[in-house]
């Protein structure tokens, strides 16, 4: 197992805001409506990651809010990396605010692991860089956890060789930062990495696939990465030429999308996943930017495109740096720096193990109809039947692990309609005298429904029940929707779920 040093800059998205905000003000960076990072002052006031905007503002009334911007974070981080590299070469960027280093070289140079870490941190402090923490351990994952738990006074936490499992065991399962797996583990009653690691490796592989097995190995302190990363064959590298050179990051990102997919697919053909990626950008004026990016799991095509965009953004902004680009981008080169063997498939991508034939057939249909032509469905939350189904194009990651749908008050009892039109079909329901049936204010109806009209001739209603009120967004007067549901059986023997909303009837589902 390889000794590894991880440097962690706490609250990096805040530091990346730079001079725009005073250091002692409460500041939070939000993505969507949730806090992703906050300053020390905000944390003292009680603001936490994951908190909603309104809650955070309630805790810290003077809170300043900034929108999350991964490109800004990367742009500000890369010059820091350059300065660290002057002290200790071979730095890998895991993500903005987090960088990893192989321990062997610096430890030999400075005469010890702790000494090396202290020397690097001291150098960073003299250069006026924000307070960094260092973690030293076997493997990058454990080292990252150690860095996050280093106390601010000493700033270095070393886990002795072979001590990873014992160090990780008491940590909460949230440390693995996998949005799909963590809630499942919590449902299983597993609160700590130690409890997760105690599961049988075979069981984890069966239930959670290769990705779960990888995280399981990490939780047990068994980082699968080799001491010397396997050098992938050079023909797997991919070079893209732009003629004429492209000036805009968006153009470059678009231009390499297909190549990035091919790059990942060619590795996957050899049952390899890229964990460290070298990106080289070159312009026609001799400017050149070269960096190694690391990924916690493995790079997919979208992650490759992101890294190119971040690097490009930084290289065009930093005009004085040696790796600045002065002109449009002429060449993008992607090289797999380190690879891991993968199981049957890129895990989690197709909802579990899928054999090649199915993937091939569905991909061919996508080639005929387009990416959104083939969908998989998972059942989410909501009251209306059509709202509850979440459709994901084949090959994309479903929004969350299916089966985790919480109970929804007011949802329909089983059995559910077997036919659910994506858009409700207009209909008409009349009483015996031919007048439309309406629901009165107190929940009664004007007259028993007698006839149902769907397009053509009316059908007699033989049995019915309702109304059942359906209230959505009742807390918000602007978005509130009120409707009533009915079940009816018509004379042909067909059973329907009907919806009456704002005086208009429609068919929400058919049971036949």
């Amino acid at each position: 197992m390889e000794r590894c040093l991880v440097l962690w800059f706490p609250d990096w998205p805040i530091a990346a805001l730079g001079q725009a905000v005073p250091t002692d003000a409460p500041v939070a960076v939000l993505s969507g409506n949730a806090v992703v990072a906050c300053s020390a002052a905000a944390r003292r006031a009680g603001v936490r990651r994951g908190m909603r905007r309104r809650d955070a503002q309630a805790r810290a009334p003077g809170l300043r809010i900034a929108a999350a911007d991964p490109e800004r974070d990367a742009r500000e981080f890369l010059p820091v990396v350059d300065r660290i590299e002057r002290i200790a070469p071979g730095l890998q960027i895991v993500r903005p605010g987090l960088a990893a280093l192989r321990m062997r070289g610096p430890a030999r140079y400075y005469g010890g692991e702790l000494e090396a870490a202290e020397a690097i941190l001291a150098q960073l402090r003299t250069e006026g860089l924000p307070a960094a923490r260092a973690g030293i351990a076997d493997g990058r994952f454990t080292a990252e956890q150690a860095a996050r738990r280093a106390d601010p006074e000493h700033a270095v936490l070393a886990v002795p060789a072979g001590g990873s499992a014992a160090f990780l065991a008491p940590l909460p399962v949230e440390a693995i930062e996998d949005g799909g797996l963590v809630p499942l583990l919590a449902q299983l009653g597993l609160r700590t990495l130690g409890e997760f690691a105690a599961l049988g490796a075979g069981d984890v592989q069966d239930r959670f696939g290769p990705a779960g097995a990888h995280l399981h190995a990490l939780a047990g302190g068994r980082d699968s990465r080799r001491v010397e990363p396997r050098r992938p064959p050079p023909e797997l590298a991919r070079e893209i030429d732009f003629e004429p050179p492209l000036a805009l990051a968006d153009q470059v990102a678009f231009g390499i999308r297909v190549a990035a997919e091919e790059f990942v697919a060619r590795l996957a053909e050899r049952r390899l996943a890229c964990t460290e990626l070298r990106i080289v950008l070159a312009d026609e004026a001799g400017g050149r930017s070269e960096r190694v990016w690391a990924h916690a799991a493995s790079f997919d095509a979208a992650a490759v495109v992101d890294r190119v965009r971040w690097q490009l953004d930084a290289a065009t902004a930093a005009t004085s740096s040696p790796d600045a680009l002065r002109d449009g981008v002429a060449i993008v080169r992607l090289e797999p720096e380190a690879v891991d063997p993968i199981g049957e498939h890129e895990p989690g991508l197709f909802g579990g193990a899928t054999d090649d034939r199915v993937h091939h057939a569905l991909s061919r249909v996508q080639a005929i109809l387009g990416h959104r032509g083939v969908l998989t469905a998972s059942i989410g939350g909501g009251r209306r039947l059509a709202d509850r189904v979440v459709l994901t194009p084949w090959g994309d990651r479903p929004p969350r692990e299916p089966g985790a749908s919480p109970p929804w008050p007011g949802s329909l009892p089983e059995p559910l309609p077997a036919a659910v039109p994506p858009v409700p079909v207009p209909a008409a329901v009349e009483d015996a005298l031919g007048a439309p049936v309406r629901v009165l204010d107190r929940g009664g109806i004007t007259a028993p429904p007698a006839r149902l009209r769907i397009g053509g001739a009316p059908r007699a209603i033989v049995r019915w029940a309702g109304p059942w009120p359906l209230v959505e967004h009742g807390w918000d007067p602007a978005a509130a929707r009120r409707a009533h549901r009915f079940q009816v059986v018509d004379e042909t023997g067909a059973a329907w779920l009907l919806l009456l909303e704002d005086g208009a009837w429609s068919i929400e589902g058919g049971y036949g």
Partner: protein, 231 residues
Amino acid sequence: MTNAVEVAQLRARIEDAERLGRIGRAGRIAAPSPVVPAPPGVARLLPDGGLRPGGAYALGGSAALLAALLAAPSAAGAWCAVVGIPEFGIEAARGAGADPARIALVPEPGPRWLAVVGALAEGVGVVAVRPGGRVGEAEAARLAARLRERGAVLLVQGAWPLAEARLDVEHREWSGLGGGHGCLEGGAARLVVTARRGGAPRRGRIALVGKAAASPAGRETAVPEPLTAVG
């Protein structure tokens, strides 16, 4: 009649004979090929006691019957695809026992729906389709050859030439619902199966939806009705 149709029909007849044990390959009596499982109430009416791999089945418009037929194969791990049926209720299918993670949806296949079905037959165990237009015998025979080669089952909501059997739902009855009170609890219907190989249509009551349809024990209660005169 084109050659392709003739060959397909002859091959089907040979296979039928083989299955019935009249001709054994290499002189032995052939064992019946395994079938794709169907709900027991439906299976006992089908000519082979299940859905025959490589076979096409024409269904009436009953969405519940389609959901019930996809339940067993998807729950057993086979992939299913639903083509051209945008209102297919995935939640009802789950209620019937299907695994939504094993069902691929192609709601809008457009004019190339037959090519889509052909591509799906290469890799998916059960393909359900509502045809987007008329299908000639030659096209159906070409698709049938591909289905047989891959052992896939085709379920068609509508008419289909060379269908193994036609499954029609009639006399639907619903329980739990009254005149202004109650709520729907279950549904049963009479299923009429008309096999291509001839013989009188077979009829039996099946549970369409509800607890009785979802639990295996409930399916057993679907008793075949005594044969009545064919209308």
